[in-house]
Every structure is written in C-alpha cells, then in structure tokens.
Symmetry: C2
Subunit: 332 residues, 2 copies
C-alpha cells in the first residue's frame, strides 16, 4: 500500500469521490423507477438497498477525475455501468438458481424468475437510454460492446461448465467476458468522456481489464479457501455447482488416472457424496494449485498497477494502485 | 383491400422490399454470430430458421422508403428491430414456460432456460451495437426508449395477470408496452433516418402504434376463436395461463355474481376443471365480448390507416394501408 492509513483503499476512493457517488446514487434511484410497473422499483430497491461496494461506477468516476474531466456526464456513465452490472446479477441468479446475494435472499427467490428476467431487461434498456445521453459515439460503442462481451462470456461459461477439457485459456476468455469487460469499459469511458489522449485511455482500459481478471480469480479462489463470515459465500459452492474455475482446471491438468476419475465423477457427472469437497481440497493442496492460482491473481494485480504508468501523478492514480492491491489482499 | 390481387399484402410488401429484406437477412446472419460462444448461433439460428414474417423490420424499411431514404442505414435499424423482437421472444418463452413457438419447440425446451436468458441478453446487446452505427442520436433515443417500454409492459403484464381488477386501460397500457412500442419505434425510426418532416414522422409513429395494438388484440382474440391449424396456437392457452385479455376483461365487467365466482375460481385462483374453457366461451358469447373485441381491433386498424393521411401518395403507403386491413382480416 502506498499510503499509511487505517482506512481501506476502497473507502478512501469513495471519500475522494463522495459528491460524485451521491449524484450517482440519486440518478440510480431516479432511473430505476417506473411509472407504470411498481414491481420494477420493488425489485431494484431490494438490490440497491443491499448495497454492494459500487466498485465499477467508482472506477468510471475515478478515471474521469484522473483525466481532468469537469463535465456532468461521468455521472450518467457510472450509473450506466452500475445498471448493466445489476441487470447481469439479476439474470445470473436465474441462470445459477441462486438463493443468496450480498447476504440477502435473491430477487428470483423473493419474487420469481419472471420478475428477475424482465426487471433485468428493464435495467439493460435503462442503461442504454443513459449511455446515449452524453451524445458520445465512442462511449456508446464501448459500452454496447461491453454488454455484448459480457453476454458472450456468460454463454461460454455455460457451455464450458462441467467440461473437463476446459483450458486456462477458455477460463481466461470467460473471465474477460463475464467480469473484466465491464471493469475495462468502466475505466475506459471515464478517459474517453474526459477526452484524454489515446495512450491514457489505453492505460485505463488495460488497468480495468487486469483488475477485473484479478478480481474474478480472487473470487473463484475464495470459493475454496475463504472465510465464510467475511465473504458471505459458502466454501465449495462452485464445486457443488460443478463450475470449472482456475484451481480445479490446474489440478485436472496435473491429475493422475485415479484423480481424473474423481473429477469426472464429481464435476462432469455431478455424482457427489459426503467428503468429496474435502478430497477436492486435498487434491488442490497436493498439486499446489491454490497457491499457483493466488500467484496468478497477484500477477494480474501487478499488471493492473503497471498499466497506469503512462498516466500523470495524481492522488486518484495512487488510490487506483491501492485498489489493485486491495482486491488481492482478500487472499492473505 | 385497395388492390385486386391474389397475393397477400404482407407478401406484396416483402416483394417491393426484396433487396432490402435480403440485406437485412444477411446482416442478421452476420451479427448473430459469435466467435467465442458457438451456443449463441445455434440458438439464434433455430429461431431465425423458423422464420416468422419479419413484419417489424419490414415496417422500418417501408417507412424509410416511403420517406425517400437513399442511405444504407435503414438495414441496420431494421435488423436492430428484429434483434430486439427476437430477444424478447427468447425471454418471453422463459417467462411463460412455453414449449412451442412458430410451430417448433422453443429454445428453452431444446437447450435450457439459461441459454434463452443469456442468448436473449446477447441479442439485446447486439441490437444496441447496431443502433449506434448510423450515428443518429434521435434514432438511438427512440429505440432505447422502446426497449425500456417493452420491458415495462412485460412486467406490468406479469403483475396484472390473475388480477380480476385489471381494467381495459391497464390492458391497453400492457399492449402498448409489450407489442405496440416496437411497432411504433420501427416505423418512426424509418422516418427519422430519412430526415422526414416532423408531421410525417408523427404519422408513422401513430400508424405503428395503432397497428401494434390491433395486432395484439387480434392475437388475444384468436386465442379464443382461432383456427388452430392456421394460427399454430391452441384455443384457450391464455385461459389456461390465466391471462386477462380483452374479451375476458369485458366479460368480467358485465358478470353477475355467479359468473364472477366462475372467473375468480378459474382465473384468480387457477382452479380449472374440464368444461371450464367451454363455459368461458359461453360467457364471452353471451355478453358479446368477442364481437366487441373484434370491433375494437377493427377500430384500431382504421386508426392506423387514417394516421397515414399526412404522407404523400406512394405505392408503399397503399401497401401499409393494406397491411392494417390484413392484420385484422385474420379475424373474419
């Protein structure tokens, strides 16, 4: 960490951007409303009140500020990014048949899958309305491309699930799609709306891309070694849902015949019995793949930090560097 | 019908726009592809091959041609409209738990709900990429507003379902959202991209709005009195799914106590037994609500036709008038 303080990097950034974040909150509330369909604000309020760190919109605001933007439209873009994120959460919970999100029951459980699908569609449409308002063609291209890449990544994840042939390369493609595409679009549009020079915009994109990948790898790793009380997730959810994440992909690549048979039974065929999660953890530790995955996450965080090199010295730049450290600090 | 020919109005319009429709088909094929996720073109090809009349993109092409447009972008806008339509079909089938669409098994049945949700999202995102390409702010506003209105209408339909207090006004709001919003956006953007004068654009919007309403009322009516072999729908699907459509709303408004108890049991409580559909049809006929609904559909078709008055004489204008007649001709 480059500054000595007891505050978390995320909170420091939120403080530096507190006026802008308040404007984003107000715009979220305004635009998630619906005159005709009261079910919509019910569902969205449930998600919005549950909070979440709002890391993605904060990245847009930070990038715009770092590039000296003085106009009003970073608020719209940050809100767009949060709406795309919220829409994908609603649809993800339907796809994954999840029952918990941010420590609360999911919308598909409280209402029904129908409401989650349709309110997600509404937020997608609202995000597209919002992104047109600054009137910037490059911004619209970046954000609509990101939305397509996210959906593509989710579909790829669906078809890769339970497939033991999934490589680290496919995993990276899925992660770039489902997670990093929105991080990199969030930072890139902050630079673009500020009319930053091309190499600064590129640096912001690269930072968001690497940060998003580090973020997702950490998330996948915490599913095997996290502290439930801190993460709000249960250990082994991905294993039970037969998702092929990096620690398992690495362990399968190193498996002998007997181990391979174990992965075929538990992940490919989904025939899991008591003690299987513990055995899976034993295999991950035996081959050191939790450690290797952690090293990958740290390397992506370093990549994120060094991507910012072309940008001038700035208080916000230091905070973005700290955010990259913070994202992987959840591991240690 | 204003011309004497054995061809259906829809086919005549398709013939007049055959080059443009071929370009739309090519663009649909190009943009529904995905480099990374082969599941996407599988699902979309299933829908696209099933055909459908492509009435909505044809309306965009017709409006642009009628307003003298000579540029290339009506093709992008027509494709956008078709992608939005296809995405909503995919999500509707998940929401309605449908098993048949255009006489074939639905995507949610052939693959799974997950694929339908995510491929729908992909098509939404693709449609937003497409709508940015002409670089017209008004066009983007119209189409992104339409997408939000559609989702709003679908959510409103969800909460109005099974609610006997649903009025004709709420029904019209649902129909304007879920169906007419895309029809009116389709015709409006055709005029806007052609830089047509404001009153012509307004006329095209009004035509699309009234046509869409007529179209949906006819659809709802055919669910009670259609010829299964011609419509590909089963009589009584809406009754079994407890949807409050216009003939039933009108019959409930005229119901005596005993009849009201019947609607409470079958629609509100969903306790249906053999003979209930037949009894429902008896009540609709007794109160003349099928005839009254048909009169409403015809009135909306007339409204669509007279909306076109401000537009100059043109072969395409005559065809659009015939289309309005054709939409309600399915009833007679």
């Amino acid at each position: 960490m480059s500054t000595v303080t007891s505050q978390k990097p995320h909170d420091r950034l939120a403080q530096a951007l507190s006026n802008e974040m308040a404007a984003v909150s107000a715009l979220i509330r305004e635009r998630m409303a619906s005159e005709h369909a009261p079910r919509i604000p019910e569902v969205t309020a449930h998600l919005v009140e549950a909070g979440g760190k709002r890391l993605r919109p904060m990245l847009t605001l930070a990038a715009a500020k770092l590039c000296g933007y003085t106009g009003p439209y970073h608020i719209h873009l940050a809100t767009t990014v949060e709406f795309i994120h919220t829409a994908t959460l609603l649809h993800d919970d339907v796809v994954d048949e999840s029952s918990q999100r941010r420590g609360r029951p999911t919308a598909n459980l409280l209402w029904d899958n129908q409401s989650s699908v349709l309110v997600g569609d509404y937020l997608f449409a609202r995000s597209f309305q919002l992104m047109t308002e600054p009137g910037s063609m490059p911004v619209m291209r970046i954000l609509s491309n990101a939305a397509a890449t996210i959906a593509e990544g989710e579909v790829l994840q669906l078809t890769a699930a339970q497939n033991l042939a999934t490589t680290e390369q496919v995993y990276l493609q899925v992660v770039r799609g489902k997670t990093a595409a929105l991080f990199s679009a969030a930072t890139e549009v902050g630079g673009v709306i500020a009319d930053a020079p091309e190499d600064h915009v590129r640096a912001l994109f690269d930072y968001g891309d690497a940060l998003g990948i580090a973020f997702q790898i950490v998330d996948d790793l915490l599913d095997y070694q996290g502290d439930t009380s801190a993460t709000g997730k249960n250990i082994g959810d991905d294993f039970r849902e037969r998702k092929l994440t990096l620690p398992v992909i690495k362990a399968i690549a190193l498996a002998d015949d007997e181990e391979r048979a174990f992965w075929v039974r538990t992940i490919e065929k989904g025939k899991q019995t008591e003690g299987d999660l513990e055995h899976a953890l034993t295999l991950l530790n035996k081959h050191g793949t939790l450690k290797a995955t952690q090293a990958d996450a740290l390397a992506w965080a370093e990549k994120a930090k060094s991507a910012l090199a072309p940008l001038p010295a700035h208080e916000i730049k230091d905070m973005l560097i700290d955010i990259a450290d913070y994202v992987v600090s959840r591991l240690t």
